[in-house]
């Protein structure tokens, strides 16, 4: 699993590659938390998930945890273009009914409040 992070305005963009599970979720979480701690103005996270080849509830839990962190401040976590496996896992877990999933980046930017 690899991540690439970039702060654009008040939005944290996180690119994720590979498999998100019990073994790799902690480094995904710390990559995101590091940015949130360093940039308290961040309102939204865009998770670019087209290259996620596998995700299970350990990875989904990290997404839910960041949602819980941003939500009280009016922000959101937005999943962008998830791979078919990731979309299925998001739906089965019920996370898809809480967190917006966008097919395109443009759609996601329109949803982010902090642009």
């Amino acid at each position: 699993m690899e991540t690439e992070v970039r702060v654009i305005g008040r939005v944290l963009v996180v690119g994720i590659w590979g498999e998100l599970d019990l073994n790799t979720a902690p480094s995904f979480r710390s990559a995101v938390e590091e940015q949130l701690d360093a940039n308290p103005d961040i309102t939204d996270i865009l998770l670019m998930m087209q290259e996620v080849t596998f995700i299970d509830s350990s990875g989904l839990g990290v997404i839910l945890g960041r949602y819980k962190r941003l939500r009280p401040h009016g922000g959101n976590v937005i999943v962008v273009a998830p791979s078919p496996q990731a979309r299925r896992a998001l739906e089965l877990s019920g996370l898809a009914s809480v967190i917006p999933i966008c097919d395109t980046e443009d759609e996601a930017w329109a949803k982010a409040v902090g642009v």
């Binding site: 019990l22 299970d56 989904l60």
Partner: protein
């Protein structure tokens, strides 16, 4: 119905192949376990790629549960068996750790002691398996039995008992 010798809950004669692996309950082995089972499952050629992904997710959840909850000290053993009985895949994941005092409570959605976890593991496993059996003797371990057949494949009714 007359039953002959049985293996993995299947009629002995219908077992086409089987593997058993043992490895320590550590996070690195979660990927190993799901990839190994996916590789084995792909011998059932009527499984779709999506169904193989579902098998990977179920195994990943089950093995993660074991890594997280079964042993107080690291290095406890997970025994993973996979068997192919005709076109039915059976996966058995066993540990020899603390066990679960209340299996039905552990299976409840969002029952978790960790705020950063989904508590959805069992729900996902149940949704994606044709059959899921969890049994435990406190102090002796947990046994999870998962069965899955390719969608639309005719099930051998003699292969359904655990």
């Amino acid at each position: 119905m007359k039953h002959g010798p049985r293996l993995w809950g299947c009629n002995l004669m219908s077992v086409k192949n089987h593997v058993t692996l043992e490895f320590p309950a550590v996070p690195e082995n979660v990927e190993f376990a799901r990839v190994a089972v996916a590789c084995f499952a792909s011998q059932i050629s009527s499984f779709t790629l999506e169904e193989i992904d579902d098998v990977k997710l179920v195994v990943s959840e089950a093995v993660s549960n074991t890594v997280l909850h079964s042993y107080d000290v690291s290095g406890g053993i997970i025994r993973l068996s996979a068997a192919r009985c005709n076109d039915t895949l059976t996966v058995i994941i066993e540990d020899f750790g603390k066990g679960i005092a209340d299996v039905s409570q552990a299976k409840t959605p969002a029952f978790t002691t960790d705020p950063d976890r989904m508590g959805m593991g069992f729900t996902i496993m149940e949704a994606l398996s044709d059959e899921l059996h969890v049994s435990s003797v406190p102090g002796e371990g947990v046994k999870v039995v998962i069965r899955k057949s390719p969608h639309g494949a005719a099930k051998d009714s003699d292969d359904k008992e655990v």
